[in-house]
Symmetry: C2
Subunit: 394 residues, 2 copies
């Protein structure tokens, strides 16, 4: 049960604000191929979280493609990135395209004629799985910042319980990029006997400090927005400008200087969205502003706070004697991907992760996509990614 | 005449804000070795600006070290970076250290026993030179966003008129890093006959789009702060959180991932400055928050908007038929410096700038500092910088 903040209502922005445009705020799509499963937990307090607190109930929203075979051994799990969701690809022509539309489907690199594909919205998200916009049973109001801190470990443990309920004990492959790559890595480490192959796309074994730093600035921007209201904005206001600003910064780190140079350069355009006094705008500014607004229309600001924090808190070596020992637990065949221009998780770090896996005894390969698209290449470079996936699934 | 926003008064922050601490806001130092000169302009409207508008009066705040010789040919001009000022070094033991204290002084790399050194606060700044916190003669109130857009070209033209008033027609050297490097480059191009040598530290010939993008996010954060009040906060409120957030982002781009990894890693600390609900903080977060507050205590938020915009608008090739033709005007001997880990103006771009100068016929050398300190290396790597300066001044 998710509250719909402001129900898609148009929110007036303060007149002195940098954004002078009005923007529609996020609402969930009205028709959706999503399924929901609420976990029964052994503990009556609910689903316990690593850093304290419980979730009660914990509902997982998910989508599936293809059919699970009788042996239940043809399953592939895909994990979304920070602002993604379970909608990886269409189920039919009426649906909007998914975020990996060209990768998943009949005859595609992840062939749904062959594989049973599952994608769940992460715990703490805003696309159907329990998150800060869900109803807190203790108050009968949305959690807001009353939501407990969740970790990548919690997300994976919830997914493990949930998929066992579906009857799948062993996965042919776990696949994810960015935050989704952290989930795939945690799956392969926490449940080594359950994962045959793992594909880690542009994701580290522990969030590096510069990535924490970027996230922290984005969170500051959200909390700086007077419409954030201490996280209690549901049905009242919406921190449009704060979330849009956080997204603008995110986009810079997901792309690359060379991409921006080639696409936008120093081109200038008329000013429509900012006050006259600051004159014309650069195309790169308008592009980022547009991207910021686009996210506002589909994402909950508090989820942005919680999921970025989960990423920051990710350290595969926690409670496992360090990253090297954690990697030693992996039994899956792993492919680690780096992107030549990734500024968030540079290729050198991805290569080093694959090497560390091999030193720890895991069967790890490294692949690199040569692309100007930076971190986002795993979403954008469809042809290269299809090749990575085909080689990975063998 | 600069208004002192809030006169150093403690400003209450909104209780729901991310920053729960109170912070003292910026005030100018009470005692200062600064001198002031107000330009008489031929045009009674005032000093005309490239993109429209006038400044009337235009006062320049500056400091000098050493003595101008009789031939008036031993002058070196140093230009500060975005949030710097004219206080490059102490004049005596009672003064606070300057931002290049170890570089400038008797017997130092820029030897004030030999050279007459001048540094002025940039137009649009907040350290004594006319800027958005100065009194607008038309309203008798601080300009705020009524301040016209200023460019690097305007700053340099004002400095040219000002230094001619001091009787100096020709400079032994112009030196600057980051925004200061843009000023040095513009000086060498606009007044080629007046500049013997130019040292361009970690600064481009035209602001690249990714740097514009980072700046834009910082500006958004400032304008997002309800205390910004459309720029009209002087004597009323102060956008502490907005400016601190902009500075946090700036600091990320001035350092490097490898520096943050080595200095802070994933170390966690207690939470003192953010609400309990978000749990402990990473050391990198506390460090950046601290840096954000430090800037708030010494810098005007509107100047941050105007000076970042001046940098974004910098294109040496504007009105000169492009960068290559502009570089062809330079007569000075130029050294361009890159820093191996600079994420704002990567070393490859600095090297390319020196090569473009040589292709254009200028006498240009390239030097690179191997350092984890990123963009800030020209401020931090004192030993390496002293070497660069000694080689540069020959």
């Amino acid at each position: 049960m998710n509250a719909r903040p402001s129900g898609g209502r148009v929110v007036a922005l303060p007149s002195h604000g940098y954004f002078s445009r009005r923007s529609e705020v996020y609402r969930q799509p009205s028709s959706s191929p999503k399924k929901y499963l609420t976990l029964d937990t052994a503990d009556p307090a609910g689903f316990p979280l690593l850093l304290g607190g419980y979730l009660r109930p914990l509902t997982i929203a998910y989508e599936t493609w293809g059919a699970l075979n009788e042996a239940k051994d043809n399953g592939i799990m895909i994990f979304h990135a920070l602002t993604g969701d379970s909608h990886v690809a269409r189920h039919g022509p009426d649906e909007p395209a998914g975020w990996w539309e060209e990768m998943v489907g009949p005859g595609k690199a992840i062939d749904t004629d062959k594989w049973f594909v599952l994608a769940a919205n992460a715990v703490g998200g805003c696309q159907g799985t329990t998150g800060p916009n869900s109803i807190n049973p203790d108050t009968q109001r949305p959690y807001g910042i009353g939501f407990p801190i969740v970790t990548i470990e919690d997300m994976v443990r919830a997914q493990r319980e949930f998929t066992q309920r579906l009857g799948v004990e062993r996965w042919k492959a776990v696949i994810g990029g960015s935050m989704g790559g952290m989930l795939a890595l945690e799956w392969a480490t926490a449940y080594p006997e359950s994962v045959d192959r793992a594909l880690i796309l542009a994701a580290p074994a522990a969030q590096p400090p510069h990535a924490i730093a970027y996230h922290e600035v984005g969170r500051q921007a959200i909390c700086l927005d007077p419409a954030w209201l201490g996280g209690d904005y549901y049905g009242r206001t919406y921190p449009v400008q704060g979330l849009a600003t956080a997204r603008m910064l995110g986009m810079i780190t997901y792309q690359s200087p060379v991409l921006m140079e080639g696409r936008h350069g120093r081109k200038m355009e008329g000013s429509r969205t900012i006050p006259h006094w600051f004159g014309p705008r650069f195309a790169i500014e308008n592009y980022l502003t547009h991207q910021g607004y686009k996210l506002v229309a589909r994402f909950d600001a508090n989820s942005y706070l919680y999921l970025t924090r989960a990423m920051d808190l990710f350290d595969l070596g926690r409670n496992r004697g360090g990253v090297a020992r954690a990697l030693g637990k992996i039994q899956a065949q792993v492919t680690v991907l780096g992107v030549s221009t990734d500024v968030l998780y540079p290729a050198a770090g991805q290569r080093a992760l694959a090497e560390a896996m091999r030193r720890a005894g895991a069967a790890a390969r490294y692949e690199e996509i040569e692309s100007p698209h930076g971190h986002d290449a795993f979403l954008v470079e469809e042809k290269a990614m299809a090749g990575v996936l085909r080689r990975f699934l063998g």
